[in-house]
Symmetry: C2
Subunit: 413 residues, 2 copies
């Protein structure tokens, strides 16, 4: 008898048949005696249909009205799922963000949750209802409808789980858990029984797009146990929790993440004077171009080379901006390269096991891969390599860190 | 400078191009300096699409969830029209029924409006906004979304006009006003400059389906001047107002209404004892079959004949019920006839001009039409005739009462 928040995305509720399947899954949990809150997205395609209507009317649709428009998508799903549950003999009731009420700031189309009124939900849960809540939406102080931005349904689920002090927040998706790396690239890729919030964040930001980063941050902040599961297959999924001290004793690399959506820009012959980095990156940031890896080596001969990566889509724009800066600074040359990939080893165990970096670098050297850039964080080491070596690098690292083998008993929950 | 409530139905906002046309019409009124509240329906087809989804899940969908589901249709239109208005340089803001708030009882799918909070609307109108309100929906005391039933958007518009003390409530439709009879049947049919609420009610219930009966009743009760206009053509439309004493002096027949959706049932040889009518009609009413005209003539030989009309779709069901009753009562025979039509002369002038009935009957006799049944109300005389004579009857009466001629100056506004 526990309280569970379950979130189903747009594909999981994409048509009536799927909504019925979701209802059957929810009903099974309910019949086991659990209290259930379900958070749903719009049926797949619906949000895009509504956005297209808006763009027929305005090139930049009014944010307030955009929220009024797209929030109907989730509302439709809540009603249909409540009907499907009732048809299975399970009492159910739908809620919009306004009705719950999920109070947000007034930043339309990208609002942030401030507070959740759990009173009505608790009353319905106590009365035996499955409560079905529209994801992605809330209401501001003045009663205006707001939305949390794309993928915000995950955030809704985690925020509800935190407010209701739920025992678990289950995110149902089209994968059966978090893997040690992409199974499409490495045959031996293995589902993790559990992973820490920090590892999940590093995995997610590296392109293992299972969960919204914001939702993971939120879950970590409020210590909500999060579980990733498959919508239509049975299985335990992957549990995402706070760091587990028991596991700290074993060498723990959670997985190998990678990303081939970046491009590299280098400014050669930059004068080695204070403030140079901000003079180079300032104009790039002002143009709303996100910079990921930044590397600057020690200077020689009063000049240095400055390298950073941006999303591939931003490369030409970033290059133009950089050329103007280079002219001002009398830098020697700009070089751009989009045929790169980033590979990262992620794991909380890294903190106490200094040997991870050297094992990683020697594994890459053994298969003849040259490392172009290196960057590290507390629980991650990333390298930039030539794109064509990406698969080789991922496979080699996956096997080097023993990720294709089942972990020993102590290291799993 | 007046305050106008304008209502546009589903066909008028059926696609983006039409929403833009509606926006242009609204913008013209706004630029003339009027305060404008617009009430919109769902884009045509949308409500049916949503209802079909519900019926895929439940044969009798949960009323509460049905309201959550279908109310999204109007919400979408409010957002899109607000965008279209803004694009024309007219400030606009959308409102759901919950946001206004349009307080109703909790009778889901057929709720009745109890109260409207006009505070937020007045604030926005004062600030120069066109306020766009979702028709057809409200909210109950507990924050649940309710709907007013099909066609409820007319009622929303009238209720808002009453609450805001608007100068006029304009209902935009696919006709340019209320006619003396159906123009498709009589070439000389003429648009009425004005008509009274009572006449409009009788015309509407007879099948001149321009406005929802409930909305007309509501407008009459709160004395809201109602105007029927064409959505995409310019013109003065027809004004629907309280009885105008000035017009009382002229012989005023507003129009000829008709209906061919009824069928006739007669029970022959019914014992002439008290309580017989309720023993016959009781079971019919219990089966939710609506009865329109009822005629019972004086008895002869201790038995009488009892005749009434029902909707054609209900004929076979009503006949079965009636057969059981006839067996119980030892009535002689049941006769059913669906090849009938009802023709009515409607007008407030009838009250003070007793000659209307005889003019009507003799006009029908002149063209050889036999009258099967007669029923009268304060401002209406209806006859049931054989269906094949319907056109002849309508044309003959239209000309008999001079409806194809422009009224004299005194009789128009």
């Amino acid at each position: 008898m526990s309280l569970i928040v379950q979130k189903f995305g747009g594909t999981s509720v994409g048509n009536v048949a799927r909504i019925q399947q979701v209802a059957e899954k929810v009903a099974r949990f309910r019949r086991e005696g659990h209290g259930i809150v379900v958070v749903v997205s719009a049926m797949s395609g619906e949000t895009n249909r509504l956005i297209a209507l808006a763009h027929e009317l305005q090139s930049q649709p009014l944010p307030r009205e955009m929220d009024v428009l797209v929030s109907t998508g989730e509302q439709v799903t809540t009603a249909l799922l409540s009907m499907a549950l009732t048809e299975l003999g399970v009492k159910a009731k739908s809620y919009t963000g306004t009705q719950v009420r999920i109070l947000t700031d007034d930043a339309h189309t990208k609002a942030r949750i401030r507070d959740i009124d759990d009173q009505r939900l608790h009353a319905d849960l106590d009365a035996g209802y499955v409560v079905v809540v529209a994801g992605f939406q809330g209401v501001d102080d003045n009663g205006n409808i707001t939305t949390l931005g794309r993928g915000g349904s995950d955030t809704t689920a985690v925020a509800l789980a935190a407010a209701l002090k739920a025992d678990e927040c289950q995110i149902y998706t089209d994968v059966d858990g978090v893997y040690t790396t992409d199974p499409r690239m490495v045959d031996g890729a293995r589902r993790l029984e559990r992973v820490t919030f920090e590892e999940m964040l590093e995995m997610a930001s590296m392109g293992s797009k299972v969960l919204q980063i914001r939702a993971v941050e939120f879950a970590g902040k409020y210590n909500v146990p999060l579980r990733v599961l498959h919508s239509f297959e049975d299985g335990p999924g992957t549990l995402i929790t706070l760091e587990d001290t028991q596991q700290m004793e074993t060498p723990t690399i959670a997985g190998i993440a990678f990303n081939r959506d970046e491009a590299k820009l280098t400014m050669l012959g930059v004068p080695d004077t204070p403030g140079m980095a901000s003079r180079i990156l300032g104009p790039v940031g002002e143009a709303n171009i996100e910079v990921d890896v930044i590397v600057q080596n020690v200077a020689a001969d009063n000049s240095t080379d400055f390298t950073f990566t941006v999303g591939r889509a931003d490369l030409s724009r970033a290059r133009e901006i950089l050329q103007a800066v280079a002219d001002e600074l009398n830098a020697r040359e700009i070089r751009a390269d989009s045929r790169i990939a980033k590979v990262s080893v992620v794991g909380v165990g890294m903190r106490s096991h200094a040997g991870v970096a050297s094992r990683m670098f020697s594994a890459l050297a053994e298969v003849g891969i040259n490392i172009q850039m290196i960057t590290t964080s507390e629980i991650k080491i990333s390298v930039i390599i030539e794109e064509k070596y990406l698969e080789l690098a991922v496979r080699s690292l996956h096997s080097t860190f023993g990720l294709d083998k089942e972990p020993t008993d102590e290291s799993v929950a």
